[in-house]
């Protein structure tokens, strides 16, 4: 059964919702482990199935190696998100945050988005594709506005809904136009004759805008900063990673399965958007003070690096993007785990609040520093390797100016990532600051994440596996 992982996620989500009804508030602690175990089992069933090709549900649902790697990414980021959310939701925090609760619903909704993303990469039909995209997006609106009585969280949710609805509508019109032009909802390579029709350009432009919204590509990125800042920290973590992955998966579905090979003609456009995105993200991040908003702009710039993989439509672009996505998930979530922990313990989220963290909690400061350095792309951390492959795709496509822009941007990013490191390591701690406690779950998660991102930078086999499997699939 090729949709076993999806089925497990569905069952787990329903089971959590039902169990929640029978438990009193104290016993709801078991919901987080349930969700985590559900994802682990789903991951196991996915891994046992190894990348394979298969088709079911009348050709509407199919699996292949590229989709397999996307699903690994979705399940992994979902799992890490649960591990970093549970302290906040179970109330094991230093400073209580109002309006956090409803654990059963939280995990159900989270699993629903994961399910949506997983189906998204497997869809072979426009209707399934659109429905799963909505399933992946709508729960995120809910999660963003999770703190009901917090004005900022509510505002963020509202903005997200409005902007998201606009993007959705835009995409739906695009898909509708394309259906009208091709007369089929099947997601298979379409006739190139269509390229002469202005209606086709309009449809493509609308779809690209929708992709840009999910991936936070300039100028479709505006929602990100406000939403990231307002959402609860674990949700921000999830948004910055999984939602971006979903956007990439959607882009992959549209650009590689449907408009197979057409992206090569739009290389200049992709390069311009990539350059704009990374430059805006990086320069604006410099002047931020709130760490979540800061990470929002950092994530925008990372999206700029990521879409470099599309430049020229080279086959090497896909493994490079998939690898970077995995690296980015581990690295960014490692940094976010520190941010979540810090806001749990102190309730603070300004960059200046991190001063002297290396004195009071040296190990956490170290993992955060490693994560930030990896995001900046310093060897031998995995972020460097990931960027290296993306840059080499751009240079292979002949876009040397883009590589130069990206390199300059990496330097700028190092500057602002170092701002946080400077607060942690160089600025003196407050006199009354003491060592902050950390729960064993979060400590273990942090350790595993740090070790993983280090290993991914040193051991070449992960990239080689992704590369050989996806390239073999592309050359099918």
């Amino acid at each position: 059964m090729i949709f076993l992982p999806e089925l497990i996620v569905v069952v787990c989500a329903v089971a959590i919702l039902l169990t929640d009804l029978w438990l009193d508030e104290r016993r709801r602690v078991i919901l987080a482990p349930m969700a985590a175990i559900g994802l682990v089992v789903a991951m196991a069933s996915l891994i046992i199935s190894v990348p394979q090709n298969g088709l079911t549900l009348g050709g509407r649902f199919s699996v292949d190696p590229v989709g397999w790697w996307f699903k690994v990414f979705f399940l992994l980021s979902g799992l890490i998100t649960i591990l970093i959310s549970l302290d906040l939701l179970d109330g094991r925090v230093g400073v209580r945050m109002r309006g956090i609760g409803f654990r059963g619903e939280y995990y159900t909704v989270l699993l629903a988005t994961i399910l949506g993303m997983m189906v998204l990469v497997s869809a072979r039909d426009l209707i399934t594709l659109y429905v799963s995209l909505e399933l992946a997006t709508m729960p995120l609106f809910v999660l963003t506005a999770w703190r009901r009585d917090d004005a900022q969280s509510g505002e963020a949710g509202m903005k997200y809904v409005i902007f998201g609805a606009m993007a959705s509508a835009c995409m739906l019109y695009g898909l509708g136009l394309l259906y009208g032009l091709t007369g089929s909802t099947a997601l298979t390579a379409i006739d190139r004759q269509l390229a002469n029709m202005p209606a086709f350009w309009l449809a493509t432009a609308m779809l690209v805008a929708g992709i840009g919204f999910k991936l936070t590509i300039v100028p479709f990125h505006f929602w990100a900063a406000d939403v990231y800042q307002g959402a609860p920290a674990p949700v921000t973590a999830y948004l910055s990673v999984a939602s971006k992955g979903a956007g990439l998966a959607f882009a992959f579905q549209i650009l590689y399965r449907w408009m197979d090979g057409w992206i090569a003609d739009a290389a200049v456009g992709v390069a311009v958007f990539a350059a704009l995105t990374m430059t805006l993200g990086n320069t604006v991040a410099i002047v931020q003070h709130n760490i979540k908003r800061f990470m929002a702009f950092s994530a925008i710039s990372q999206a700029g690096y990521l879409v470099m993989g599309f430049v020229g439509g080279l086959p090497e672009g896909i493994p490079a993007m998939l690898f970077y996505l995995l690296v980015y998930a581990v690295t960014n979530l490692a940094v976010f785990a520190c941010i979540v922990w810090f806001s749990n313990q102190t309730g603070k989220e300004q960059i200046e609040d991190y001063r002297g963290l290396a004195r009071t909690n040296p190990l956490i400061a170290l993992t955060m520093m490693l994560g930030l350095f990896s995001l900046a792309g310093i060897p031998p951390l995995s972020g460097f390797v990931g960027k290296f492959f993306l840059f080499s795709v751009a240079s292979k496509a002949g876009f040397h100016w883009l590589v130069a822009v990206a390199a300059v941007n990496s330097t700028i990013s190092l500057y602002y990532y170092l701002r946080i490191v400077r607060q942690m390591y160089i600025e003196p701690a407050d006199k009354d600051s003491t060592r902050l406690p950390i729960t064993p779950t979060l400590a273990a998660t942090l350790m595993v994440l740090s070790a993983t991102q280090l290993l991914m930078g040193i051991i070449p086999s992960l990239y080689e596996t992704i590369s050989s499997q996806t390239l073999a699939w592309l050359a099918r």
Binding site: K159, I162, F163, M166, A167, C170, A195, N196, P198, W201, L202, T204, A205, M206, V208, A209, G212, F213, V218, P219, F220, F222, W223, A225, D226, D265, A266, V268, G269, V272, T279, L280, N282, T283, V284, A285, I286, V287, Q288, I412, Y415, P460
Partner: protein, 652 residues
């Protein structure tokens, strides 16, 4: 032709891996618990490694009794893949040369570790000492088993780092810190040449690889770089219109690295200062093992050096000059360890020129060089360890403050005498045989000048070694120390005795059977060489006895009569001062200062400007983020239109 096989051979990677594991274990776990236990664990690990190295040698040579020796790579791991066909593997190469070095390194290292347990007994930081010693042993073994030049370079630098750490072991002492810096900087400078050499070799090797490459080989592998077809092509290639072939150029650059590590003139200046480290470090690293890495590198690439001819000449003459030069300085030094350091330089010169005089037709020098490397490791580490025992007892390095120790330190005296006789080349001790082969090879290869230098230095060696022997052990005690002088504890005596036995019997090892190029040869004693060399050695000893036996009074008169000449030698020909003059007066003033000015005013200004631009851009762009969803919506629509425009332009 059977492929050598055996359990240890299959698992040869364990030989470097055990010291590595022990380094991690001792450094992270054991050292904080107990520094005594750290010494024991570190020593035990090296002993296991040494036992494996000996078994490996036995397995290998019993499998190939007389046939052509084959190189086996029992373990390899792909480490870096630049592109298809350009990969670097980490691996373990087992051939006679690497086995020889593995045996020498692990054996001497094990004995020095054992000795150090006693020597470092009262030192608070001995846990750190053993950690670095293990790191060094691992690095040296990694260097020795390298199947390609990149792995060798990596471990080459690791060896340099551990040497740096150990020279600066007494980091509270400014002189030790200065010495460790000096060693690091000088060898790094030399390694720059090595690195450029590797890059040139790699670049041209990779170009040739597509046509000459063999399955299972990589462009950086020694087996590829020294294959005749590649060498022939490299020798005919030229850099632009330059007269020097690529082969010669890269080999001379590689030799620069080798000369730095093996302290050949004029890059020798770091080695005497390196004696600031603890004496066991001097014995292991700066006498027996690390400093022979340069010799080993030349031997490893011997086919390439031989194919170049010119590069081999450079090796021969640099070696011969260093041999003589260091021996002359050795005659005048007062610090016992420094005399031994100059003696090491001189002996390394022997090994180098022995390689230099060898050719593919006359490969005797190759074997002789490796033979001398083998014997020298034993008697020179013994000399250092015995000197350490003396220093341990009298608390000074100055030979003029010693004397009359024969009775007080009987074992130390006996072992020191054995080593001194061995290095002086007295029959039947080890040094006699290896030196005899080297001189024979020089004569055989048609290098009368080098032969004459070697013969002269044989006499000088006996003279300077017996000078310190007589001053240290004979006559009356001239020191200030009032506490009674004690013989070293038993733990330190064991390695001394073992090394003394090795210094006596190592010469009887039929090296020509094991390490050779081409035909196996049976070394007989070459009387035409042995007799004059022995006579000169005896003259040297006699001269030393005349000058230095009676507390050196006659020598003092000589010194006065020689005047300025003596001072120049004693100041080591002012080479250090020349370096300082060049670096401080010329480089710093005329190169570094203008660059510093440029950096401070132009580069920093540029960096600050770009930082300012990025910040300002950020502050301007952030105003786009108004927080109003309507504005965002407008941007969204504008963006979609922009995409449409691009599509229209692109697909029209």
């Amino acid at each position: 032709m059977t492929e050598p096989a055996g359990i240890v051979l299959k698992n040869a990677w364990l030989i470097p891996a055990i010291p590595l594991a022990s380094f991690v274990l001792v450094g992270l776990v054991v050292r904080p618990l107990s520094r005594r236990l750290a010494g024991i664990v570190a020593t035990a690990a090296i002993f296991v490694s040494a036992a494996m190295a000996w078994i490996l040698a036995w397995e290998y040579f019993s499998a190939t009794p007389h046939g052509e020796p084959t190189a086996v790579i029992p373990w390899t791991f792909e480490w870096l893949r630049y592109q298809t066909g350009l990969t670097v593997k980490l691996g373990v190469l087992v051939d006679p040369l690497s086995i020889l070095l593995m045996v020498v390194v692990t054996t001497v290292s094990a004995l020095v570790h054992l000795y150090s347990i006693g020597y470092m007994h009262d030192d608070e930081g001995s846990g750190r000492f053993f950690t670095w010693m293990n790191l060094f042993t691992f690095s040296m073994l990694g260097l020795v088993v390298a199947p390609n030049i990149v792995q060798m370079y990596v471990f080459w630098e690791l060896v340099g780092v551990s040497s740096f750490l150990l020279i600066g072991y007494y980091y509270q002492k400014p002189s030790a810190v200065a010495a460790s810096n000096k060693a690091f900087i000088v060898t790094r400078f030399a390694d720059l040449g090595f690195m450029i050499g590797i890059l040139i070799l790699g670049f041209y090797g990779f170009r040739l690889f597509s046509e000459l490459g063999d399955a299972g080989l990589q462009p950086f592998d020694f087996a590829f770089l020294t294959s005749p077809a590649v060498l022939e092509r490299l020798a005919t290639m030229h850099l632009g219109t330059c007269d020097i072939s690529i082969l010669t150029l890269s080999m001379v650059l590689v030799f620069m690295g080798a000369a730095g590590k093996s302290a050949m003139f004029p890059l020798h200046i770091w080695l005497p200062d390196a004696m600031e480290g603890p004496t066991p470090v001097s014995a292991l690293i700066h006498a027996a093992t690390m400093v022979v890495a340069g010799v080993y590198l030349v031997a490893r690439l011997f086919a390439a050096f031989a194919a170049s001819g010119t590069a081999l000449m450079v090796v021969a003459y640099v070696g011969a000059f260093t041999c003589l030069f260091a021996a002359i300085i050795g005659l005048t030094q007062d610090d016992i360890k420094r005399v031994l350091a100059f003696s090491t330089l001189s002996q390394l010169g022997y090994m180098m020129f022995a390689l230099g005089v060898a050719t593919v037709g006359h490969p005797l020098g190759y074997t002789a060089s490796m033979f001398h490397l083998f014997t020298h490791a034993f008697f020179k580490s013994l000399l250092f360890l015995a000197a350490g025992a003396v220093i341990h007892a009298v608390h000074t390095n100055n030979i003029w403050e010693m004397g009359g120790l024969v009775r007080k330190l009987p074992i130390t005296h006996a072992t020191f005498l054995v080593a001194t006789l061995a290095i002086a080349g007295i029959w039947p001790l080890a040094g006699f045989f290896s030196k005899d082969e080297i001189l024979g090879a020089a004569l055989d290869g048609g290098h009368p000048v080098i032969f004459a230098v070697g013969l002269l230095v044989a006499g000088l060696t006996a003279l300077y070694m017996f000078r310190i022997y007589f001053l240290t052990f004979w006559g009356k005690f001239r020191g200030m120390v009032t506490d009674p002088v004690h013989e070293v504890p038993a733990l330190m005596r064991v390695p001394l005795v073992i090394l003394a036995v090795a210094s006596i019997v190592a010469g009887f090892v039929p090296m020509g059977r094991f390490v050779r190029i081409g035909e196996e040869h049976h070394a007989g004693i070459n009387l035409a060489v042995a007799i004059p060399a022995s006579i000169l050695a005896l003259i040297g000893i006699g001269l030393a006895w005349i000058l230095y036996s009676a507390d050196g009074r006659r020598a003092a008169q000589c010194t006065v009569r020689m005047g300025a000449f003596y001072t120049v030698i004693k100041q080591k020909f002012y080479i250090d001062e020349a370096y300082l003059f060049v670096t401080r007066r010329i480089l710093f003033r005329f190169v570094a200062r203008p660059i510093a000015w440029f950096d401070r005013h132009v580069v920093d200004g540029g960096v600050n400007l770009s930082g300012w631009i990025a910040r300002t851009t950020g502050s301007v762009l952030r105003h786009l983020q108004t927080g109003q969803v309507q504005v965002y919506g407008v941007w969204f629509v504008g963006g979609a239109l922009l995409v449409l425009l691009i599509l229209w332009a692109g697909w029209r």
